[in-house]
Each structure stands twice: as C-alpha cells, then as structure tokens.
Symmetry: C2
Subunit: 190 residues, 2 copies
C-alpha cells in the first residue's frame, strides 16, 4: 500500500490525497443521508456535495449500501454510552444532532440496517438504565424513558413540532428532566 514512505516533499502523497477525498465523501454522505434518507439520496448527489466525480464515490466505498453503513457508524466514545445520567443524554439530544446520528435516525423507519442499529443502541441503554433504577417494572419503565427521549428528538429535530423546536436547549433540558424523572424518582409511590 504505502509506497512513498520517506518522501519529504509534497506532504500530499497520493495516498494522503486519496484519504482526504475519502473523508470528504464520507462527510458529504452523512449530510445527504441525514437530510434525505437512504433511498432519496443518490451517489451523484453525494459526489456533487463532496465536489468529486460520481464514480469516485463507488471507487472508494464499493456500493451505496456500504457507504451508508460507513456513514451511520457512531463514534466509539459516544457521549451517550458513558452517560448514565438522564440529564446528560437529554443535553446531548436537545442540541443539534451529530451528522451520523441524524443519518441513522432519518432512515430508522425505512431501512432495516438503520432500524437494527437503533434498536440495539437503545436496548443497551434500556438495560443500563433499568439496572440502575430497580423496583417493579424497571425494564419497562426504563424503556419508556428511553423511548420518550427518542420521541422528543424526533419531534424537535425532524418533525419540528412547534413547542419543542422553538424552545431553547436549556428549557428543553429543564422541563424534560423533570417530566422524565418524576416517575423514576417516585418508584415507591405505589
């Protein structure tokens, strides 16, 4: 692979340029998939946004599906993973979504691969949350909490419901935190 190891001059070796192009294509793909969903985005559109030739997109990623797979990968150190605290997750979801997350959610209702990725992601978070709260119906209550955050994310960033898309990040976090923890904190109230 790497053939110009000790080259001092043009820091832009062929492989470096190639890698840069590949990254630009991936960024463009995330935006296109995030804006239009899997089916409505075309490799031509991705190429246009990336400023490259359409055939280069497939040269680098093989197929539209493979490009989608690459585009929806969540970074390993995703903030949500570490955050057991509801408020942290809420804060993340109130703000603008990272491109790969937007691409993932946009297609979760129509593309099996995206649906599975979201399902596994949320099932994990439900397990973690359920282990923390305990009490009767812990898993179901955790699932409802996680589902509520998903609904809020969709309402705010995709459907743009009036009340939630016009509210400030702070207001969302403040009011939603109280609403979603009202139940979790009152587990003995029954």
């Amino acid at each position: 692979m790497r053939e110009d190891t000790v080259v001092s001059k043009p820091m832009t070796s062929r492989s470096a340029r190639r890698a840069a192009t590949q990254a630009r294509i991936l960024d463009a793909a995330r935006q296109e998939f995030g804006d239009r969903g899997f089916e409505a985005t075309t490799v031509r559109g991705v190429a246009r946004r990336a400023g490259v030739d359409p055939s280069l997109v497939l040269q680098h990623y093989g197929s539209k599906s493979a490009l989608f797979t690459a585009a929806i990968q969540l970074p390993p150190g995703d903030p949500e993973e570490a955050a057991d605290h509801l408020a942290e997750v809420l804060k993340v979801r109130a703000a603008a979504l990272p491109p790969e997350m937007q691409a993932l959610i946009r297609s979760m209702l129509t593309v099996p691969e995206a649906s599975e990725a979201v399902r596994h992601h949320l099932d994990e978070r439900i397990d973690n949350l359920a282990a923390g709260i305990g009490g009767p119906d812990a898993e179901l209550r955790a699932a409802i909490t996680v589902s509520s955050i998903l609904g809020l994310t969709v309402a705010r960033h995709f459907l743009q419901l009036r009340a939630v898309s016009s509210a400030s990040d702070d207001d969302i976090v403040r009011v939603a935190s109280r609403a979603l923890t009202a139940d979790l904190g009152a587990e003995r109230s029954r």
Copy 2:
C-alpha cells in the same frame, strides 16, 4: 358505497365492481406504504398485493403520490381527536396501529407530506393538552408528553425494542400512564 349488503346473487354492476377494486387497491396501498415506506413501495407492488393489473392502480388514483395522499388520510372520527384523556390515547397507541396511521408514521421522516401531516396532527393535540393542564411551561410539557407517546409508538411498533414490544397492552398502558402523568399531575411540586 355498500350496495350489495343482503345480495345473494353477484349484483356486481360495473360501478360497484370498480368501487370494490378501488377499495382493494387503497387497502393494499396502505399496507405497502405502511410496511416499506413511500419510496420503497412500487405501484407494481401495490397492484400485486391487490391482485390487479399495475396500470389499474394509476387508472384509479392518477399517480403514486396521489395514492399515497389517499392512503394516509386519517378517518374523520379519529379516536385520538376526541380523547383528551391520556390513557385513552395510550390505549389506542399500545394496540396495533390502523393501517393509515402506520403508513403515515412510516414515512414521516422521509416524505415532506407525511412529516407535515404528523406535525399538524401532533401540534393540535399539544394545544388541546396544554390548555387542559395549565401552569408554567404548559405548552412545553404538553409537547413532551405527546412526543413521548410518539416515541413509545415508534419503539413498540416500528423499532420493536425488546422491553416495549414484548410487553402486553395492559402493562404498557399501566406503566406509561403513571410515567407520563407523574409530571402533569405534579405541577405545583416545584
């Protein structure tokens, strides 16, 4: 519409047969749109499911888009409209979704028309709910409640998260009611 109620013979006048075919096409369309979303469903697929010729689909509805518009129309006397009570809405959403609602939700993230329909539908429900609860942040809290129910619906009927898709209708209604009313009923608790 229904003209052959007590008919024992065929009684299939041309217009009656035509209306019956039209209804079969619409039913098939709702299922296809509901299962695959707008873009992945083909008029050929709708025709196949309806057991008619592909050209008949467009003969009756003009275009794929017009067919979609017809397929996502919610019945006028929609139960949710009348139900100001959260539990009633929850009950409806816990059970299997009616085909037109499933078709609508399936495409709400990718088809502008569906997105708008859901937005208007939910904005109305938020207004009604907000007027009922009052207090500070009434609209925002109502929006969070409605968004939570949407998230629960998506998690249960589309993503099939483990905890919510395996639970019984009764359990969902019971636990979700408590979770979502914990905040609404405690408006002075702050």
